[in-house]
Assembly symmetry: C2
Homo-oligomer: 596 residues x 2
């Protein structure tokens, strides 16, 4: 199944919803004008379509394997990765001083969409490396940066994140890996880590592990965790690799999906008095350093929901145009109709299309806010945009990844029996998509983050202001879109009421936590409706201004998609409302011994 990068849809968002032009106010992005960015994305589309997308099925059926203590990735991955490094795709948004392209996160997220649609399992190595680079750019000393970053920015060396241990998953504070300080200023790391993505592989010679561990006498919990650099190979001052560090792969997990991505159990210092590690920044600050890259990593996982849904949607639409079964009410007598002519199949495709466009807009608006938060010259703007990015991040992550699962399921359904056969390829998307609601903070954790950390910003005034902004959009839509505006206004009202309920119960965390998941869904659903309403308004303005006739159908589709969403998907917020406001006691009314 071919993949075609949806450049026209992405450009529409960059022009009208998360305007790349607004980033011109940031001196750092002077080189990232619209024309340059579109050129970069066109090049990225070619790379993802032609080089990466063809590795997706192979990667799934071959998988990454542990052989003689080393991880062997699928054969096609090595060729694609060489081209990834050679073309410099890894450098896109990294700092220019370390060889990066210095492009906005907005562009990096657009690239991530294409790259992940092309092959999610393949994209994870670079995703983790990017996270490591961000953390190291913010917190490593200059010597470490000069030594590591130029090679990691290109992808010549990759990075990993070693947080999880058997007893420490969502509860990172329970980390038990030890770090003993040495006379020479280094540390010896001892412990086991699980679920380490690309913990080992054969795509590069060197791997830099970022490892959370405790120094002796560190305080318990999250306040006693430090962050260490632990290279796979020791090396000298100019980066020439020397002997192996004591870092070994214990096993590679057999997973439901993303088979190409090696998920490793890693042992540090098991065969010696510890793996050699270098402290990043100060002791006991590891968790706060992790938070530096948390937003970007969570947004990156949100993009996975979007990307897999988009690829599955393309495959389902192609199948629905080709596959003929039954006769649609206005089909020709004696002929089977293409199933895309059946209302129910059309509903599934429209549901996919509408949610995908809403997710894409959300992820790009989130990225846009991140860029302004870091690069806008005005402190006030930076501060407001930081809060916006913080508010949107759990939505990008949880809403998009839950939808990734729901929409790949629809894509399977459209394929009928063929969808259940692995060779068709759509089952892979469904299996791959299922990890995204789990990792990088489960979606339950995202909902808690939204309710307990983000809603309280400015004593609640920030989120209220955001809701008011959505309500403004609803009332200021042009007359022809007023039906969409009414639906949006109704949804925002419900969300406002739900928000008030949570504020009223803020003193009692159990109450707030109990409604968090349905509230987060309501919020995502409403933001999606808001962004599509804005898309519709932009499309209408373009048409009124006399759009190129070649764009007419595309712009009309934007409006029709927004209307479908407003009429048929957005009303879900009504149905979720009672679950937000029900008392927490209702969740606990059935005793533990009556469960299971």
């Amino acid at each position: 199944m071919d993949y075609k990068a949806p450049l026209r849809d992405i450009s529409f968002v960059l022009d009208h919803v998360a305007p790349i032009a607004e980033l011109a106010a940031c001196e750092d992005f002077a080189h990232a004008d619209r024309e340059t960015v579109v050129g970069v994305l066109e090049e990225a589309a070619r790379f993802c379509e032609e080089v990466v997308a063809p590795t997706n099925r192979d990667g799934d059926s071959e998988g990454s394997q542990l052989r003689d203590g080393r991880v062997v990735t699928p054969a096609s991955f090595k060729r694609a990765y060489e081209q990834y490094v050679a073309a410099g795709w890894g450098t896109l948004s990294h700092p220019v001083e370390f060889g990066g392209g210095g492009f906005p996160t907005l562009v990096a997220v657009a690239f991530k969409e294409l790259f992940t649609s092309a092959n999610m399992a393949f994209s994870l190595g670079p995703l983790l490396t990017t996270g490591a680079v961000e953390l190291m750019t913010a917190h490593c000393d200059e010597e470490q940066q000069q030594l590591f970053l130029p090679r990691m920015v290109t992808g010549e060396w990759t990075g990993t994140m070693n947080l999880t241990e058997p007893q420490a998953g969502s509860d990172v504070g329970a980390v038990a890996t030890r770090a003993e300080p040495q006379a020479d200023g280094t540390y010896r790391i001892k412990g086991q880590k699980i679920f380490i993505t690309y913990g080992d592989h054969d795509l590069t010679d060197q791997i830099i592990h970022l490892v959370l561990a405790r120094t002796p006498d560190a305080p318990v919990g999250t306040k006693g965790i430090s962050c260490f650099l632990v290279p796979k190979f020791l090396f000298d001052a100019d980066g020439t690799l020397g002997e192996r560090n004591d870092v070994t792969v214990v096993s590679v997990e057999h997973k439901m999906g993303i088979h190409g991505s090696p998920t490793c159990v890693m042992a540090f210092g098991e065969e010696s008095d510890g793996a050699v590690g270098y402290l990043i920044g100060e002791p006991n600050r590891g968790m706060s350093y992790m938070f530096t890259m948390m937003n970007d990593a969570r947004l990156g996982v949100g993009v996975q929901g979007l990307s897999i849904a988009e690829r599955a949607y393309q495959q389902a639409a192609a199948y629905a145009k080709e596959r003929r079964q039954g006769r649609a009410p206005d089909g020709r007598k004696g002929e089977q109709s293409a199933i895309i002519e059946h209302a129910d199949v059309r509903r599934m495709l429209m549901t996919m299309k509408a949610y995908i466009e809403a997710m894409r807009a959300l992820c790009l608006v989130n990225a846009h806010a991140t860029d302004l938060a870091h690069h806008h010259p005005d402190t006030m703007v930076r501060e407001e945009q930081r809060k916006l990015a913080d508010l949107l991040t759990p939505l990008s992550k949880a809403w998009s990844t839950d939808l990734g699962v729901e929409l790949t399921s629809l894509a399977v359904q459209i394929h009928g029996g063929m969808g259940y056969i692995e060779e068709t390829g759509v089952a892979q998307h469904y299996r791959d998509a299922r990890i995204a609601p789990i990792y990088e903070g489960t979606n339950g954790i995202q909902a808690l983050d939204l309710v307990s950390r983000k809603l309280p910003y400015d004593g609640g005034a920030f989120v209220k202001g955001f809701l008011a902004q959505m309500a403004d959009t609803a009332t200021s839509l042009p007359h022809e879109l007023s039906d969409i505006g009414e639906r949006l206004a109704a949804a925002v009202n419900f969300l406002d009421e739900a928000t008030n309920h949570l504020f009223a119960n803020a003193a009692n965390p159990v109450e707030a936590f109990a409604g968090a998941t349905p509230y987060a869904r309501m919020f995502g659903q409403t933001v999606g409706g808001w962004l599509l309403a804005r898309s519709a308004a932009a499309a209408r303005a373009q048409m009124a201004a006399g759009a190129d006739p070649a764009d007419q159908a595309h712009l009309e589709a934007k409006i029709a998609t927004a209307r479908f969403y407003a009429d048929q998907l957005l009303p879900m917020v009504m149905g979720l409302m009672p679950a937000v406001t029900a008392p927490a006691s209702e969740l606990f009314a059935v005793g533990i011994d009556q469960l299971g």
Copy 2:
């Protein structure tokens, strides 16, 4: 992961919601009193827990394989199947005259739940055999019945259903397999069939294929399809097997799940002038014969949604009690809480529990209606119950199998990262569950069946009467449950409004079809609420009558579960309403070239 048959929950339904006692009015079921049935189910529980459940993981990892033209099933399947035949579980609901147990469908469905929870892939062979026996009991001549049925009733021989061809899936009328009449009264069958469950296997010596095919000059479409018996081995009058018939396995599909169940491409008559086949009943009546067993088969697939959800729920609840992460708001300081203490995990478990109890009640009420429709002495009762069974069948199938997917997904989520690892076993449930919304009529087809075939019964009066019955329950609940009654009444009102909308648009099939899927979900969701409300009322009555203190917590849980469902799950019908009533044009407003 151990499986424990939920006998107490099943008995509760058989006592209060789909009363086994009411079947006493049917002479055929004189022997199936409550005590006997409970004894049978206790025995079935032991068999399913101890013999079948342990084969589930093996069956998934080993899978059924094609070797040298024959299908080899997982090693553990052979031992379990021998015991299945020896203990006579296959005979349960089949006619006494052919060696069956003559038990009600109600009991057969309760057994099916346990059997499918234990191993869905294993259960499919017997499920298909049961369907074949039903069709043959209704339509074969006596000679055929005497020859085939005694061996098929026990499971000594198995049966298959050969409907689908590459161009004929949902569109069965497009079947192209040919049947040439011979001078001796037999036929020669030529054609290829796909997606044939247990099309070949090594569990029994003989397999009886029921094959849809066209005789020369048969009318086009569904009116020209005949049904044939095609045995794997030819045999003589006393059933002694002779030479192979020309029936071959072309390939076995690689599927996302139910790996233990061989899904075969079958070739009939490819190496000769045709496989030997025997006509069932009259020519061109094949489709109507298939409909004989369609309701039971669809209900059987609905049970799969229930069964897989139940098994995944048991596993998730056990994990949530054991796994410790973070500290719940009232947890002990410095200690990790079991994740079942976290509100969000509890929400997932309660969602599973509530839906599972609703699905179980629905499937058993559906079976109860089927029994009365066939066996009640009063024609009027039979007729009314037949309509009820017909109305409920697409709901049992579509609602339960969609929920099977949703709830196994929650079970994966509760497991966090471990849920994505195949060895944990919960991923298998998620993969297994995904086929059920597809086969035996996709859920889109079920929704169309509901809207276009069932709603018109008695000019709409039948469904309106059913809605009125649900509304009656809502208003007649005891005072202590009046909050549940209000929620139920509101949902029935919405459903009534949606039903009126469909009636008003009945002349225009596109409009009715466009809203069919959200309407079916609304309907299932409401029926679920109605059945749980009835459960709550029954539990309360029992408590008022002075229940055994050992049952107190169980009965209280029934009420709490119904309340959770009414307050937090049932309101979804509000959110679905606009999708039912939106004009069909909204689904078609985006042109085909703008999709994908």
